[in-house]
């Protein structure tokens, strides 16, 4: 039976990896602590659900979900990043938290706060090996996130855009002096994070077949833990951190029961923050001391 539990752990971990990457990308590259990401995750899913509920054809609803995620992310950039660029990350943390609460209450007001069943677009979104069940949603989510990690590493190392982004992550002032259009790159980052996080929300809904206005909170908190444990700013760190938390959660539930899950995970997070704030893989993308 353990194989199924490990599969469950990996599948659960892949959700945290997906959102963890979004967090670590935006902190690592433009030093902006974006706590509104869990809301973008939820907005993608809830928009798609609402449209499907009204009878919109599936592909259109899914694309609309992505668009809403992007627009919401752009709003955060316009209102917060544009005005606060350069100010300390503490203010960006507080500002993005306010956006998280705004988006959640907006959705609660329009679509209600209770949990909805996401229609099963594919009859059985799972693959079965003997009695082992593997969720296809998470599998593609995991595949996409690994693809993205390779893609992003390649982009950062070998392309001009990547070089510009790395310059920006070192210091926005010098990047501007060097003639890099920082604003355009930052906007591109926010669009990428919006698209990517909303996609995460859709994959989650396809697999767990459930959405709610507050779904972002539970996943967001654990994804932040994954980012930190892996190493703030390191994309591979988010992958390692996410998987570790997934497995840890599954084993803790198996051994001690669900009520100790929060204690175990956040105790590990606190320990790591104190002993090794740069996380398991260290802030590869950017010097963590600066934050």
């Amino acid at each position: 039976m353990h194989v199924q539990q490990i599969v469950n752990g990996l599948m659960l971990g892949s959700v945290y990896v997906f959102v963890g990457i979004a967090f670590t990308m935006i902190i690592g590259i433009i030093n902006f602590v974006n706590f509104s990401i869990p809301a973008l995750f939820m907005l993608g899913a809830m928009t798609a659900w609402a449209l499907l509920n009204v009878g919109v054809v599936a592909p259109l609803a899914l694309v609309a979900g992505l668009l809403v995620g992007i627009v919401a992310s752009m709003a955060v950039e316009q209102v917060l990043y544009k005005r606060l660029s350069g100010r300390d990350p503490v203010i960006s943390l507080i500002g993005s938290l306010a956006f998280l609460i705004l988006y959640e209450h907006l959705v609660i007001h329009i679509l209600g706060s209770d949990q909805q069943a996401f229609p099963a677009l594919l009859p059985d979104f799972n693959i079965r090996f003997g009695d082992i069940v593997v969720g296809l949603g998470q599998l593609c989510g995991f595949a996409i996130s690994i693809l993205l990690v390779f893609g992003l590493s390649y982009l950062l190392k070998h392309t001009p855009v990547g070089r510009n982004l790395r310059a920006i992550s070192e210091s926005t002032e010098t990047a501007t002096i060097l003639g890099i259009n920082v604003r355009r790159h930052v906007q591109m980052m926010f669009v990428a994070v919006g698209l990517f996080t909303a996609l995460g929300g859709l994959l989650f809904s396809l697999n767990y077949l459930q959405v709610s206005a507050l779904m972002g909170q539970e996943i967001g908190l654990k994804a932040i833990a994954a980012m930190i444990i892996g190493g703030v700013g390191s994309i591979w760190g988010a992958v390692v951190g996410g998987m570790l938390i997934g497995i840890l959660e599954v084993t803790t539930i198996g051994l001690f029961g669900a009520d100790t899950v929060d204690i175990v995970i956040y105790a590990l997070l606190l320990l790591l923050l104190v002993v090794r704030p740069s996380g398991i893989l260290g802030g590869a993308l950017q010097s963590t001391q600066r934050i």
Binding site: N8, I108, A120, V133, Q210, I219, A258
Partner: protein
Amino acid sequence: MKHLVSGIALTVLAAMASTSPASAEDLTLGFSIAKTGPFVSLTLTNEIAVDMAVEEINASGGVNGKKIRLIKFDTGGDPKQASIAVSRFAKDDFALGVIGPFSSSECRVAFPAGERLKIPQIAIASAAPKLSEPFAYGFRNSINEGAIIGSVMKALKEKGLPAKTAAIAHATDDVVSKAIGTKVLPPLFEQYGIEQKKTVTFQYKAFDVSTQVSQIKAENVDIVGLGSPPEAALKLAKELQRQEVDVRLIAGTPAADPDLPKRMDGAGQRMTIGATFFGGYDESTKSFSEAFAERAKAAGIARTEPNMYDVNAYQIAMIYAEVMRRANVTGKQSEVAAERVAIQAELAKLKDFPTLAGEVTFNADGDALKPIYVMEIVGRKWELLGVYNP
């Protein structure tokens, strides 16, 4: 800075003025609703049921020749607001009693306040065991989970349905679910000679229960006793379907949502629960459901079928009308304190009061005793298995 503080003080006075003074000839009742916040999907429609009851009472001549006047206050499901609601109803509106609050967490804060102010309250959906026992002025028009799930077990036995081995799955961070999982189910399983195997736990807001279901699958039991709110029941049923685990879920009132079979979308087949209302039971319940559905559509609410909490709220209004009649209440401001005590006395000895969906009695703890409808999910609808009196 100065102008700012005076600005805020002005707005405070405006907020106070909104509470209209009680006119002499009305009997005032407070209605504590959770229109925003976590319970909104269950509470949204309580207002319709209570309005229907009050209109019915006032149309048939009111109580002792006086009309019932309702003061509504939205607590948003927040315990602090529920306590503020009670002190407002008691001190500002001179209410004779309070319909609500809705949830256990709100009751735990509102009942002590009601006790101090000596104003009766009848909770709509609170099911935490022994909650109202220490409060003379705290009543609950909901049945404790032990009686509900007991009836479910009785129905399974009578119908000879397979129930030799059982597991328990309950949420750890919701007081009612934890009570069901730890204090209600184990003794019942023993009483009915069912071999209890593993207990699995989950957080009610957790989105992934695959681990727990894999543990249940390993036990291959006949039934799973469930202590959890509707959302978690939905998640568990869907995961059981995904991992192809064939088992019958049994649960209490937290999972009693008329829309649950539709939301299960094929999962949770043969899930059995007990509830204090079944729409299609008899003529009076059918006509109530139809009238309710019209108003729900008019109000643009997605769910048009009344849930048991709507019926509980409707019954509470009716109970108040009855006890106020028995205590021949006048509603004069000077008499309000004495009349609240009289109402409390009448409520304490309320026995077999006939109302919609059966007769209501309040036991010594202040909880309701009324018929329990045991039903199971077949396809996308609830099917009635039997009616049991606790």
